[in-house]
């Protein structure tokens, strides 16, 4: 599938923002920190920028971005529509949480903002993943690893960004480091599981149904030049580097951030803060490569009509 940069940026950025939002809401509920403290407000602000920036970027690949509001109407059947509705309510509760720190009349609604921020982001991420996981013509996406991958990777990047924010202020909280380490290991496990599943050959659908007559080979394509379908679904550039890119994604998204997070425990305050920030930035780079592969490696069955069964 064609890896559109707007969609890669959207899923990585809003995933990290929504993960961060959940963790901040959990911190507030635990009562360790004040909802108006600079560290929390910085975190909420970053989450807001990541989520809304991602959502905005996702409209760039639309033919008619000005009609995007219509996408909120078909939540009964469409995962894309459900994602849109959930994302807007999630961002709304985040905005309420931020607003309650500055606008006195909104203070009474703060619990609503906290609970919304705790409960809505994960279903939003799951809905994004279901857009892909529900597509039957793309076998690489139609498996049980896609939804867990999106959820775990969002929480993982959220945890790393939370570390990057809390480290300069107050130092990293012990529970936070444990969560970040667990999520890094979980992220590595689900991604390896996904890649293993994708590499397993499976009984493919046969496009033409001519199989009983003999071996089917494409003879002459319908057009002299590639058409919309081949450009959108037949993405092959750099697929031959997939193995190398997987290693790059794995090291950048999981191995290096894990090492840096461990390092931040033993380092003094400022170097530890530097390590935490570096961990978040490198993991985000790794996730961008991982997301690029998610699209570029997935094959659509329609290409059988062009490339053979």
């Amino acid at each position: 599938m064609h890896p559109a940069y707007s969609v890669i940026f959207f899923t990585v950025a809003s995933g990290a923002g929504l993960g961060l939002q959940v963790l901040l809401a959990a911190l507030l509920l635990a009562g360790h920190v004040s909802p108006v403290s600079p560290v929390i407000l910085t975190g909420l602000g970053l989450a807001f920028v990541l989520i809304s920036g991602g959502l905005l970027s996702s409209t760039f690949h639309l033919g008619h971005p000005e009609r995007a509001w219509r996408a909120l109407s078909q939540w009964r059947s469409s995962w894309l529509s459900r994602e849109g509705v959930l994302a807007i309510v999630a961002v709304g509760s985040l905005a309420l949480l931020i607003g309650s720190a500055f606008i006195a009349p909104l203070e009474a609604l703060r619990p609503l903002g906290i609970w919304g921020s705790l409960l809505l982001p994960l279903p939003t991420i799951a809905a994004t993943a279901m857009i892909y996981a529900s597509l039957k013509p793309i076998p690489a996406w139609r498996n049980g690893w896609v939804v867990p991958s999106y959820l775990v990777l969002a929480l993982m990047s959220g945890a790393l960004w939370l570390g990057a924010i809390t480290a300069p202020f107050s130092g990293i909280l012990p529970g936070q480091v444990v969560f970040a380490l667990v999520s890094l290991v979980a992220g590595a496990v689900v991604k390896l599981g996904y890649w293993r599943r994708v590499d397993r050959p499976e009984a493919a659908m046969r496009a033409t149904g001519l199989g009983p007559a003999g071996t089917v080979r494409p003879f002459d394509p319908p057009h002299t030049q590639p058409n919309y379908l081949q450009r959108e679904m037949g993405y092959r550039i750099a697929r031959k580097h997939a193995g190398k890119l997987r290693r790059v994604a794995f090291v950048a998204a999981f191995v290096v951030p894990l090492a840096l997070t461990l390092l931040s425990i033993v380092l003094p305050h400022w170097p530890a803060a530097g390590a935490a920030m570096l961990a978040a930035a490198i993991a985000t780079f790794g996730l961008i490569v991982e997301r690029w592969l998610f699209f570029a490696e997935a094959r659509h069955v329609v290409m059988q009509y062009y490339e053979g069964e």
């Binding site: 219509r70 059947s77 013509p137 033409t208 007559a213 080979r217 057009h223 919309y228 679904m233 329609v302």
Partner: protein
């Protein structure tokens, strides 16, 4: 509404005879011509006379070489055949291109099962084209919306046309009569009888989309056994692999 109707009154669709299609592309051209000026048009073309032309097509004609069992020809080749394979929207019963649509621009008609797109409300997110295993959805780069085969909905119910022309343009134009149009939900219709008689099949039933269109498989070739029985003169085939050392050397030289 992108939820699908529980059942449709009729199941209008196409039956395509792979045995007699000659791959002339007339159906694709007639489709483009009609729909370019019809309610869904224009169907944009970009760089139509340039080096890399591209455009919107609702109907495409693939062609395949199908190897049968056999050993005619040099090097144990087969008595294969060429199959021309026109492909357009299947107007599926479980059309997931419709259910994934976030705006309601895609819909399946309850009265006849035709799948359509409302160009006024489509946002051009292309998700429907991802959800279609048959490649029936097209993105119009000029109008920036999705377009697709309408089964010539503006022809088949058109009272201004003589009755004989109230069929999709592709069916009307086919010079060999390889395309048929009718109600595949009615077991007594002419198309259903044809499907029954020729063991017509739907494409990729495993996908579970319930495609309505049917393909009539190529008939077994009468000359297959004859072709297999023919033994070519040995020297005819040998010419391709020279025995002569000099020729072998020249062959290797030129093969570099």
């Amino acid at each position: 509404m992108t939820t699908l109707p529980k059942s449709t009154g009729r199941k209008l669709g196409l039956v395509i005879d792979l045995d007699i299609c000659v791959g002339c592309h007339a159906c694709a051209v007639a489709c483009k011509e009609w729909n370019d000026g019809g309610s869904g048009g224009p169907l944009s073309d970009l760089a139509a006379y340039g080096a890399d032309p591209t455009g919107v097509w609702f109907n495409r004609i693939h062609s395949y070489e199908v190897d049968g069992a056999g050993s005619g020809g040099c090097g144990g080749g087969s008595s294969g055949q060429t199959v021309y394979f026109p492909k357009s929207c299947m107007h599926c019963e479980t059309a997931e291109c419709v259910t994934v649509c976030p705006t309601g621009a895609s819909y399946k008609r309850e009265e006849d099962g035709i799948v359509l797109v409302d160009a006024e409300t489509c946002i051009g997110c292309k998700l429907c084209s991802w959800a279609c295993p048959y490649g029936a959805r097209e993105y119009d780069q000029v109008d920036r919306v999705m377009k697709k085969c309408t089964l010539c909905v503006d022809r088949i119910y058109n009272d201004a046309l003589p009755e004989i022309e109230r069929v999709p343009a592709c069916v009307s134009t086919c010079p060999v009569g390889a395309r048929h149009f009718g109600d595949l939900g009615d077991p007594d219709s002419a198309v259903s009888a044809l499907v029954e008689d020729r063991k017509g099949y739907g494409l990729m039933p495993e996908a579970g989309y319930g495609p309505v269109n049917r393909y009539l498989p190529p008939r077994a070739r009468r000359d297959r056994e004859q072709a297999a029985a023919v033994t070519l003169p040995a020297d005819l085939c040998d010419d391709l692999s020279p025995d002569n050392r000099l020729l072998k050397w020249v062959d290797r030289l030129f093969s570099r």
